[in-house]
């Protein structure tokens, strides 16, 4: 289990309590059993919850789903498909982008979005 994953459980618990949800209530909203949620909060699960469940948790607690999915040790659901759609070029792009700062990555993403918008215009 990575360092991030060890922090994920206690973070869920703290944010859940900040929002005033009991363990059972929050488990019900996420669609898991309170026993399972308790194991997640204590970092006692062998495999982290699915990206879909982590997304649900983050949304309920007003947190960033993508950030929480990464903290939980999962990859957002759509990324697998995106990579598989261009099995060579997409990993190449990601490797080329490795090492850039978050700000540089955001700038790059905005440029790519702009480029795509322009191409899509009639």
């Amino acid at each position: 289990m990575s360092n991030d994953q060890q922090h994920f459980g206690p973070l869920v618990r703290q944010k859940r309590l900040d929002k005033g949800y009991s363990l059972r209530k929050f488990a019900e909203l996420v669609g898991v059993s309170p026993t399972y949620l308790s194991l997640v909060e204590k970092g006692k699960v062998e495999r982290p919850p699915t990206a879909e469940r982590v997304r649900k948790m983050a949304e309920l607690l007003g947190e960033s789903p993508d950030q929480w999915i990464a903290l939980a040790g999962r990859v957002p659901e759509d990324l697998n498909e995106i990579i598989r759609s261009e099995p060579e070029a997409m990993p190449e792009l990601l490797r080329a982008a490795k090492g850039l700062t978050a700000e540089e990555l955001r700038k790059l993403a905005r440029r790519l979005e702009k480029k795509r918008d322009e191409e899509e215009k009639p």
Binding site: L17, S22, L23, S33, L39
Partner: protein
């Protein structure tokens, strides 16, 4: 519920335990909306009010008893409930799940200070990682009976029970088993009678029956009144 008894606790009268339970509900109402109707949000009181740590897990496996329901670690401010009581496995477990939580909260409120102040207990206190109390479903030392009474009073506060009873029965008058044609030994029929209220309070029918008997809303026969 029962326990391995590591320490002895002083005798507490039922009335004193009920006052402790009422005090906890009063403290909750200082910072949260007062509890105007059942069920009492004991899980919220545990985590959001008392700010205790809470876990559901395999207590039976880790503590080595197959009848463990819950346990408390005072030093770690931790209450654990055995996973066999998880109400999502079976909704009929909800009452026992809530009662076990309320029972452990009872240990926290009734016994923590006593044990923390007892030097002989302090020497042994949770040093080996074992809980202060392991609450099981067989045998009942006095501290376990006290925690049960606390749980009963906190989940079924006198005022809310009388209000719910009046709403249900149309008056605050007690009911005689003879009038209901229920044999006092017929626990199944007694529990069936109590079930509508038990569902409102989210407790077991048996727990509801004990409380109604204690509050003398269910009696064997109605005493003749002077006036």
């Amino acid at each position: 519920m029962s326990a391995r008894s590591k320490y002895s606790v002083p005798f507490l009268h039922h009335k004193v335990i009920e006052e402790h339970a009422e005090m906890l509900l009063g403290e909750w109402a200082l910072e949260h909306p007062a509890i105007a109707e059942p069920p009492v949000p004991i899980e919220d009181i545990l985590e959001l009010g008392l700010k205790l740590d809470f876990e559901i897990g395999d207590l039976r496996g880790t503590l080595g008893h197959d009848d463990v329901l819950g346990a408390i670690w005072f030093g770690d401010r931790l209450i654990k409930v055995d996973q066999s009581l998880d109400p999502t496995r079976n909704s009929r477990l909800l009452g026992r799940y809530r009662f076990t939580i309320a029972h452990e909260v009872g240990h926290w409120r009734l016994h923590r200070q006593h044990l923390m102040n007892d030097p002989s207990a302090a020497m042994l206190f949770e040093q080996d990682g074992t809980p202060a109390f392991v609450c099981r479903s067989t045998a009942k030392p006095s501290e376990e009976k006290q925690a049960d009474i606390f749980a009963s009073c906190v989940l079924m506060p006198r005022r809310l029970v009388f209000e719910a009873w009046e709403e249900w029965r149309g008056s605050r008058d007690e009911v005689a088993l003879a009038d209901l044609a229920i044999n006092p030994d017929d626990e199944i029929a007694l529990d069936a009678f109590c079930r509508p209220l038990a569902e409102r309070f989210e407790v077991s029918a048996q727990a509801m029956r004990y409380r109604l008997e204690k509050l003398e809303l269910i009696v064997k026969e109605v005493e003749p009144r002077l006036f």
